[in-house]
């Protein structure tokens, strides 16, 4: 049985009153199995972030159905943790308090919250920074805290919206490895969004390629590269072959977006 089921989902919004609505997503159907790492890749403006927001329950789909563990998604919930591209740590809380935020809201006793925070601090390698405020951290460290904070709620699925998009390429590469290590340890189901093909293929079990305007799932690519993966796979012939395939599909879409202005 699938963990997450997205069935014929569409999304339209009216940009201005009276104008014809913009079709952001149309006929999106996909399935994510338990403990799988799924990546959606597409050109900017294809609606992939919109799709993730629908899964998070932050927006409501115009049509279709989204189901997690057999339950329809009706609004945001602590079952679906999310990491954004922008820095969303609460600047008035220390690293530790940021991670404890979810468990505390859920009414867990303080000692348990502290244990959870310690565990995830360790997983993302930030021991020694627990009393720092977000402003004192680098971008990569902030995103590691954001990941720990999302995981601290023990969500059923982890949603990531280009979480490393604002980082420099060296940091991004380190973060990808760290994410894989954390994922292998936590065995979470992950839905990850990116426009970076290397990132998609390096992280994912499979990659959904999205088309633009309206956004649809164009192709599902199995990433056959064995795990655990290290950066070296990026230059393997197998990786390059997959990359060629995805790149071809995406370039067609990117051109469409560029032509549409």
């Amino acid at each position: 049985m699938s963990k997450l089921l997205i069935e014929d989902v569409s999304m339209r919004f009216a940009v201005r009153r009276g104008d014809a609505p913009v079709v952001a997503l149309e006929g999106i159907s996909l399935e994510v199995a338990d403990r799988e790492f799924s990546v959606i890749v597409g050109p900017s403006g294809c609606g992939k972030s919109t799709l993730l927001r629908l899964v998070a329950g932050l927006d409501e789909a115009s049509g279709g159905r989204l189901v997690l563990d057999g339950e329809p998604i009706t609004g945001p919930s602590r079952d679906r943790g999310m990491v954004f591209q922008s820095y969303t740590l609460f600047p008035w809380l220390t690293v530790r308090r940021n991670i404890e935020f979810g468990p505390k809201l859920a009414g867990r006793p303080p000692s348990e919250c502290a244990d959870i925070a310690t565990r995830y601090l360790e997983q993302v390698g930030l021991q020694g920074f627990e009393n720092a405020y977000p402003a004192q951290l680098s971008g990569g460290m902030r995103q590691r805290v954001a990941l720990a904070r999302a995981l601290a709620n023990d969500p059923k699925i982890l949603l990531m919206d280009e979480p490393f998009g604002a980082l420099d390429s060296q940091t991004r590469s380190l973060m990808q490895e760290l994410l894989l290590a954390v994922w292998e340890q936590s065995q979470k189901t992950v839905l990850f969004i990116t426009h970076d093909i290397d990132e998609a293929l390096f992280l994912g079990d499979h990659v959904f390629v999205m088309s633009a305007r309206p956004g649809r799932i164009k192709e599902r690519v199995e990433v056959t590269i064995p795990r655990p993966r290290a950066v070296e796979v990026l230059t393997s012939p197998e990786f390059i072959e997959l990359k060629r395939k995805v790149m071809g599909a995406i370039r067609v879409e990117a051109r469409k977006v560029a032509a549409a202005g």
């Binding site: 932050l58 999310m82 609460f90 954001a146 709620n153």
Partner: protein, 263 residues
């Protein structure tokens, strides 16, 4: 030497701390020296420009007969009452207005209209309504600051990152918790900045109110001194207002650092 000076004249270039301090001291000393030259040198009549020692003497006299402390205390208590009252009202309204369209719809149009009315134009009306007592001056401070504070605080509240609010929903927060645990703390640094800015304006309104109608206060002291051509007392009043403004500003700055070490 010339090369170094040329380097200091590069836009946005940093200069050594010692140079910075010397230049600012030089400005202060020059201004004071200019004042001394004009007054002691007899270039300006003493009724127009008092000598520095006359101002000190006026201050000493005021301290001796207690009038200076009384005026200072009256002004300070009026400004604090009006300012605290305005802040108690503007902080919650501003935070809600920046984040709830319903509150914005209810409050913003009126606030935007009223805030462009110069509060000095309301003083005659306020005198008619509440007289010339201390309440009238508190009302002037209150009306002069509250609407500005609401707009400025609403701006900060509106700028709280949408993603930060969304992420708290996905962490299990409900709407009430988003207000109490995200919006309020996220707005606090902006609130503190707003208080500092509007405190400066409050001093202006205070003196205007005291010049028009008052029996005590620094503005009244200045006006009264004008009638007798006591320019030394006028200077004293101006210096004290400047000093009090500086002290309140520094106090609010220190409060911000102490209360919000993370910002």
């Amino acid at each position: 030497m010339l090369a170094r000076i040329s380097k200091y004249l590069t836009p946005k270039a940093e200069i050594p701390g010692g140079v910075y301090l010397s230049v600012s001291t030089l400005t202060g000393v020059s201004l004071f020296a200019f004042w001394c030259l004009l007054s002691y040198g007899g270039l300006v009549r003493p009724d127009f420009l008092p000598t520095p020692d006359a101002v000190v003497a006026a201050g000493y006299e005021g301290l001796q007969d207690g009038s200076l402390l009384k005026h200072t205390w009256t002004s300070t208590s009026v400004i604090l009452s009006g300012f605290v009252l305005a802040s108690i009202i503007s902080i919650p309204i501003g935070i809600l207005m920046g984040s709830f369209k319903l509150v914005e719809a209810a409050i913003e149009p009126v606030t935007n209209f009223v805030r462009y009315l110069p509060v000095s134009a309301l003083i005659p009306l306020l005198i008619l309504w509440i007289g010339i007592g201390v309440e009238q001056r508190i009302a002037v401070i209150f009306l002069g600051t509250v609407f500005q504070q609401i707009i400025l605080i609403a701006d900060t509240s509106a700028r709280v990152s949408r993603d930060m609010i969304d992420v708290s929903y996905t962490l299990g927060a409900n709407r009430r918790q988003v207000v109490t645990r995200i919006l309020i703390p996220a707005t606090l640094p902006g609130v503190m900045d707003t208080l500092r800015v509007t405190m400066g304006w409050a001093w202006t309104y205070l003196v205007v109110a005291e010049l028009v109608a008052a029996q005590s206060g620094l503005g009244y002291m200045i006006l009264n001194a004008m009638r007798g051509l006591f320019t030394d007392v006028i200077f004293l009043g101006i210096l004290i207002i400047g000093l009090l403004g500086l002290i309140t500003d520094q106090a609010l700055k220190a409060l911000r650092r102490w209360a919000l070490p993370w910002a």
